[in-house]
Amino acid sequence: MTESDVAVVGFAQAPNVRATHGTTNGVEMLVPVFDELLDGTGLSKKDIGFWCSGSSDYLAGRAFSFIAAIDAIGAFPPINESHVEMDAAWALYEAWVKIRTGEVDTALVYGFGKSSAGELRRTLAMQLDPYFVAPLWPDSIAVAGLQARLGLESGLFGEEQMAQVAARSRADARQNPNAQVSGEERVADLLEQPYVADPLRAHDCAPITDGASAVLLASADRARELRDRPAWITGLEHRIESAQLGGRDLTASPSTSDAAGAAGAAGVEVAELHAPFSHQELLLRAAIGLDDSVRISPSGGALCGNPMFAAGLSRIGEAAGRVWSGEAGKVLAHATSGPALQQNLVCVMEG
């Protein structure tokens, strides 16, 4: 590792739950998450060089909600801080750049969302083209359903494969104490369930989740002090596709393919994929070129807990954990933002 390298050295998350009593600025969720993340590192909040967050005012229902969240940090003396109105995986990208410039040697990245406060399906229509699409209020499940049917009818996958993704995710989530959904399901039983939005069944869709997560990044020197086996970021790339849904091939994810290629995804043993819908995991696996030997989302993935604006960052933390434990030598984490996999980020980490 060279001195410009950056590693993931810490991860903590709030329990993924259907609803909390907390405020939409996330303070109640973030205070314990920050404590858990810093506990054992020897670092205090005052030692963090840069803070970067991902969240959304539309989810919170009020302007500048991310500013209120800063109360959870204790921002005195004044701190070095930034925010992205996207999943916090993109905040991690900004923090990674900040460390690579040499300006800071540690960064704490966090994301939070209280999805239960509003009507998530409608709120996410605000991500669509505001001129001639959003005025129709297409909800997030409807848009995902259009994408799923394109995949189904072009023969890329079948409903049984979608159900297999759901069954495997729920089975894996039994080992994840923070998961919102888990359990033993037979694929045949899942396929008996009614459609919630034909061609999607309930198990094909991520649950509505309140949650928060945080990841600690460190420069090469600091990383070695903070963890025996840091998860070195060897590739971190993100790409975006057109905002025009009809102008995209929704059965492929070229932005994921490009990001994965640029990040050096070949040879990963574990991949945490941010797929809020079962068919999107199948599209992502094809886009990245993951074969059956790659362990997919052992945490249970977003289908078992999808805290908006934190779930993608959580994928990076979960994947890094496989490196810290020695369970894997090379891992991949993927995050998505926007409708129907519009924006995609791939982070490759090695031990």
Partner: protein, 322 residues
């Protein structure tokens, strides 16, 4: 803190008319819709995009050539909406569809009024149903209807040609259940009893009113409850001379930061009961409460603050609270 009851929560309605300038390309697309025509824009590769877009989705070149396309088309994909949500094109179950209109190369997202999901299939032919009162937006297409066998299309007469549509207004209404923090809830419940409850940060000992979910200096929840008197001082103020929509008091009047005795943070309130020009930094004030029958869980229980006539607080006593 001995918080046992749940935090207070209440519905929060957020609404705003989003008004957008359209520019030339989108403006011509919207103008055509108002005339009950659908246009697309020709992309760099010759493909026709509907809705019209200003820039090529692949090459990002600016696009400018609008072309008419048909008001009938073919469904490329669909999903079913069994229980439509507020604002969606139809109030009964319908199909969302990606529709490639005749003469277009990329599909338009819209609703198909198909009755039941059995009425939907990929490859089906659909026709635009026009809204009765066109406004120059995508909602001028009310929805699409399945084209039944040989039923002839019945396009209504387009309105007279008129000026180009230059702006688009989209009402946005979102609904939330807003929750106060446990600390704020104690404070709000206290107000309903005529009590002013602050909380002390366990780290820096500062007293916040309203109390905070976390002390902004230390990042830890405030905990120890402190009941504050309804007297304090003006730390800073402004004289409002400008009338504005929704104003409840005739200008000039004073909006001031009031620092209650024993508190470490001031809050904004009104100072009345003296001439505006007589209000000073450091002036001693006390709360004028509304009649008890009008109290609720709000700081509006205090109608305003009024001068007590006591000597002003010395500047040094509040300088660190400015």
């Amino acid at each position: 803190m001995t918080e046992t009851s749940e935090p207070l929560s209440a519905p929060l309605e957020v609404g705003f008319d989003y008004t957008r300038s359209l520019g030339s390309v989108l403006g011509r697309f919207a103008t055509a819709l108002r005339q009950r025509r659908i246009t697309g824009v020709r992309g760099s590769d010759g493909r026709v995009h509907v809705p019209a877009v200003e820039y090529d989705p692949n090459t990002f070149e600016p696009l400018d050539e609008l072309v008419d396309v048909g008001s009938e088309g073919t469904v490329l994909s669909w999903s079913w909406a069994p229980q439509p949500l507020e604002g969606q094109p139809l109030e009964h179950a319908f199909g969302w569809a990606l529709i490639r209109l005749d003469g277009a190369d990329t599909p338009l997202l819209h609703a198909v009024d198909a009755g039941t999901s059995d009425g939907m299939r990929t490859g089906m032919r659909v026709r635009a149903r026009w809204a009765a009162e066109p406004t120059g937006g995508i909602r001028d297409i009310a929805c699409f209807d399945p084209v039944d066998g040989d039923a002839p299309p019945q396009p209504p007469a387009p309105p007279d040609a008129d000026e180009q549509v230059t702006t688009l207004t989209t009402p946005i209404h979102l609904h939330y259940q807003h929750s106060a923090s446990p600390e704020e809830s104690r404070y709000l419940r206290g107000l309903a009893e005529g009590r002013l409850l602050g909380q002390r940060c366990p780290a820096c000992a500062k007293v916040y009113i309203p109390p905070r979910g976390a002390c902004p200096t230390d990042g830890v929840p405030t905990e120890e409850e402190v009941e504050l008197p309804d007297t304090g001082i003006v730390t800073t103020f402004c004289i409002v001379n400008v009338p504005f929509l929704g104003q409840r008091i005739k200008p000039p009047y004073v909006a001031a930061y009031v620092l209650l005795d024993g508190a470490d943070i001031a809050f904004l309130h009104l100072v009345l009961g003296c001439a505006a020009e007589d209000v000073r930094m450091g002036m001693r004030v006390r709360a004028e409460w509304k009649p008890r029958a009008e109290w609720d869980s709000t700081l509006q229980n205090i109608d305003h603050f009024t001068p007590t006539g006591e000597p002003d607080a010395p500047y040094e006593s509040y300088a660190h609270h400015l």
